[in-house]
Symmetry: C2
Subunit: 591 residues, 2 copies
């Protein structure tokens, strides 16, 4: 049975040493002293370690079952969901007006990492509800909000997002689901949606579907899509549940992973729906909450890596095999623990240095989102929009890769179901696909975000890196972090320059390099995070911190990232600079 | 249902345009004109496409079942195995003295790729038998050979390899299985083995287990291991089957993939065994056939990539979504096929350029093995020994990565079981682990093979690359292949130099870079293969080949590899040159 221990100590390091949140000038952050965050994280840790993590394998093995239109979740899920609800974990960052606790999104992010590591398939039920909550909160009328949000905040009612149809996923302009206006102001929704996570299940008394559909007079393409609330059960004016709506689950998808989450075919047969926001503006409504949703998927990616790493590490310390070539380390045993071997170290350090960098990057992004929303800071909003595809694409690619590395640490045991590593690999795999495939993320980055507001945000990013490097370059102990970061950042700028110079002539010169650019950008971001964490660690050591070993370990891990991961930027740049010629050379028929 | 089309055309290109096998001075090769190889490949293709590939999903979904000590294989496997036997596919490269066809190993390799692509789990039953055949053929007495080999050549009897025990896999010096000599010259074998592929099943009338065990007077460690034949059913002198031996399957492993293959716990309870070769020389016996076994696993790795790619390509041509930014390609449809998009191309070209390079490299390696065995060529033997860990480690890592890329091409469909891509990912994953994890391959490469015979073989490799570059550098059209190859080869030499200069002082400086070195080496090998394939294609075009498009596509694919894959060598070198410091900095307790 795999283990999970919530990394509360490292989270507190990120929150307080790195981000210094209680000093940040963001409404609500002043209450986040380290005692408060520690108390929250420890409570969440208990639930994750004792209740959710043990159900992860159960969910995988048992899966979900559709019986007479009802989806039965794996044994134990419903009880656990009740505990999550009772603990108030569903409402952390929700609006107090609707019963939420009004905590910063950053706190929900830290807790979210634990929930995702412990049981990603389970946590999706809550995650999807939160996504639907956000969309309704941002775009629906006060009346709809008052009717639906309070019970979604508590997760008494679940929520879903219905975008994909069999013939269209990425290209939503092609959707066929129809919404026909009725005399009473409601709409009749008819169509088929696929891959609807948590579309039907037995853990909530109602499910509020958000459905993209087209009005009869809708313009062609994405500019003709509207967003509707379609409840599973109609909600009476007094809040009680009424009739069953014509929104039903037509089947469950068999998938590689996240078996504990019900991936549904949803059929809408003239179901009653309510328009959210303006007609034809459904895509905009979706997009405004996409930053948070995509950040949440990036988090899932590295969170799977994080739990996989813990299990790989435990194995590497326990399993004895072979001897340290530089001298026996375990003379009383038949062999040395495999953690003595350099290639096992290389593997573990790749995992560790990525995960800790990813955590810092994600928390930093969550803080930017808080700044954007709570301070109404347009620059923070622009920066986090720019980096959202990097967080989603890079962290899920590398998060998946990390689960594969962790699996490899266990050798043959990693391939067996018994040890659980292979489940982390299978579960992590979806994060590279949903909420926009990583290829789409890279197009969003290069095709939209780079040039947004005249390139203002990418320039701000470079300025931020540059001023950090300038400020820190001569500080004792920082050169070994600042110099590689400078080099990597230079590669990123050169790649951007290549796109500017060659993308005008032929956009394919930019698009052919978009994926490499996303990874290049990701490495620079993690390099920056590691340099900042080094700075924070040096400060703590200079201030004679009680836990010297923690900070020295942090510095050593950062040095590894700089030495062994950051050199990837050169290869990404080299690939980008070859342009579209070799990528597009073949006719489709010649493949 | 996934598709599979055997790549006979590309195989013939490798055999005849690239390797020019019928002109090669290797006994048996003179008979391999293109009509002969075409006939063999086409027959194999029929079986693979029509019989084995359709059973791949069945095997995955149904798996193997242990009932009263007997393993039931998935429905259809036994019939298919009969067809494989009847077609003579099990005996291609076996010794005619024992009923084999005596064909070169190269031919068995080409056919093996198809079998592995079509149904890897199924083909392992035959593959393991062939491995056991090889060990017995190379090391057992004439009497044992006469008794066991003829029926193993036909696969009427299966074969297995029993190395791993619960407490030891990589470090076989720790094995506990005992062999006690009996008065009649036999041995009583007692112990538990795990992860025994094809250890028990219902497709053969007998199973011949090869078991590593220790004699009572055995020296400690790997120098005290002996190899035994332990038949499932005793074999009488007239060849008929006698009593059941005390070799039983105690359980089946639940695994991430290759469900169609039975991975058995094997219990030997005083089972009767026969010594193969000399006492205490069991590891040597294993090692002599390891080159072929590991080459076979490298082949499995890229073969899974190959079939996954075919399915990704078909999807990319068929699925319409979005429009080509440089101009609509499918004006009559609602959108363009996704193959028009540069990032989809990038993905497909990564797959295609790897697979074709890997095929060439593996076939070339098989030819080297034939040269080593059939010409008794020590240099060829040394070279293939050097490159075996590269073939195994690099091709399985990249093969797995290719299945993941192919899965990504399908977006959400790639994650569903229906489309079958996720099975290729799960099946390919084992190739990075078994037959020595890829970490172990990299240690074998850097710790043993580089310095073997005074570094003679690695020098021969560099000479081969160098003289090719010198000879071809000025030939028209070759510079774009030769120049990147030169640069990559220089990186490889620099890495080797780093090991020499820093590995003496501290072996961890070399071992910390072993994995990167294996990949660096792999890229140089594939770069060399692409340069050679470019040369062959230019020749064919100059000779006015009828199929111009094929050769031009080959050149374009090679250019892609040079531009987009080979730049990885710089990053691998940079990582290697940082040495052991950052890798080994942490105490085990500080992780």
């Amino acid at each position: 049975m795999p283990i999970y221990q919530a990394p509360t100590k490292d989270m507190n390091f990120v929150l307080h040493d790195l981000l210094k949140i209680s000093e940040a000038d963001i409404p609500g952050y002043d209450e986040l002293d380290s005692d408060t965050t520690q108390a929250i994280l420890e409570e969440a840790a208990k639930l994750c370690e004792n209740v959710l993590a043990p159900l992860n394998k159960v969910g995988d093995e048992e899966g979900c079952h559709l019986e007479n239109g009802v989806v039965r979740t794996p044994a134990g899920f419903k009880d656990a969901f009740d505990q999550v609800r009772e603990g108030g974990w569903t409402s952390l960052d929700c609006d107090p007006e609707y019963g939420g606790q009004g905590l910063p999104y950053l706190i929900a992010t830290a807790v979210g990492e634990m929930f995702s590591s412990a049981n990603m398939a389970f946590n999706m039920y809550q995650g999807l509800t939160h996504g639907a909550y956000n969309a309704i909160h941002a775009h629906a009328s006060d009346e709809l909000k008052a009717k639906y949000l309070p019970k979604m905040v508590t997760c008494e009612w679940g929520g879903t997002m219905n975008l994909t149809e069999p013939h269209c996923g990425t290209d939503l302009g092609l959707i066929r689901t129809k919404a026909v206006p009725q005399d009473d102001g409601t709409y009749k929704i008819t169509g088929n949606k696929i891959w609807i996570s948590a579309g039907e299940h037995d853990m909530c008394e109602n499910i509020i579907h958000l459905v993209l559909a087209k009005l009869p007079d809708a313009p062609e393409g994405v500019k003709g899509i509207s967003l509707f609330i379609v409840p599973k059960f109609m909600v009476n004016d007094d809040g009680s549940l009424g009739e069953r709506n014509a929104a039903t689950c037509g089947g469950l998808e068999k998938k590689m992973g996240i078996h504990g989450n019900a991936t549904c075919v949803m059929n809408y047969d003239g179901a009653t729906g309510y328009l959210v926001g303006e007609p034809h503006k459904g895509m905009r409504a979706m997009f405004t909450m996409m930053n948070e949703a995509r950040l949440g998927v990036g988090l899932q990616g590295y969170a799977q890596g994080a739990v996989a790493y813990q299990n790989a590490l435990a194995f590497a310390k326990d399993r004895v095999q072979g001897r340290d070539v530089t001298g026996v380390k375990n003379p009383d045993g038949p062999a040395d623990p495999i953690i003595v071997h350099p290639d096992v170290r290389r593997n573990l350090m790749d995992q560790k240095s990525f995960i800790e960098g990813a955590r810092a990057f994600t928390f930093w992004g969550a803080q930017m989102l808080d700044r954007a929303h709570r301070n109404n800071d347009k620059d923070a909003d622009g920066l986090v929009s720019l980096l959202t595809p990097v967080i989603k694409g890079f962290l899920t690619d590398k998060g998946f890769e990390t689960t594969v590395l962790a699996q490899q640490t266990l050798g043959g045991s990693g391939f067996t179901q018994e040890w659980g590593l292979e489940q982390f690999v299978r579960d992590a795999r979806i994060t590279m696909i949903y909420e926009g495939t990583n290829g789409i993320q890279s197009l969003d980055l290069v095709g939209r975000k780079l040039g947004q507001d005249g390139g203002k945000h990418v320039m701000a990013f470079f300025d931020m890196v540059k001023s950090f490097c300038k400020e820190q370059g001569d500080v004792e102990g920082m050169a070994e972090f600042v110099e590689p970061l400078k080099a990597a950042s230079k590669d990123l700028q050169a790649a951007g320059m290549y796109f500017m110079q060659h993308g005008m002539k032929n956009p394919n010169n930019a698009l052919s390099g978009s994926y490499d650019f996303m990874h290049l950008f990701g490495h620079v971001c993690l390099g920056m995070m590691w340099a900042k964490m080094a700075r924070a660690s040096l400060d703590a050591l200079a201030a004679d911190a009680s836990d010297k070993e923690f900070y020295e370990t942090k510095l050593a891990t950062g040095r590894y990232y700089m030495a062994r991961q950051l050199p990837m930027t050169a290869t990404h740049l080299a690939r980008i600079q070859t342009g579209a010629d070799t990528v597009m050379a073949l006719d489709a028929a010649s493949f």
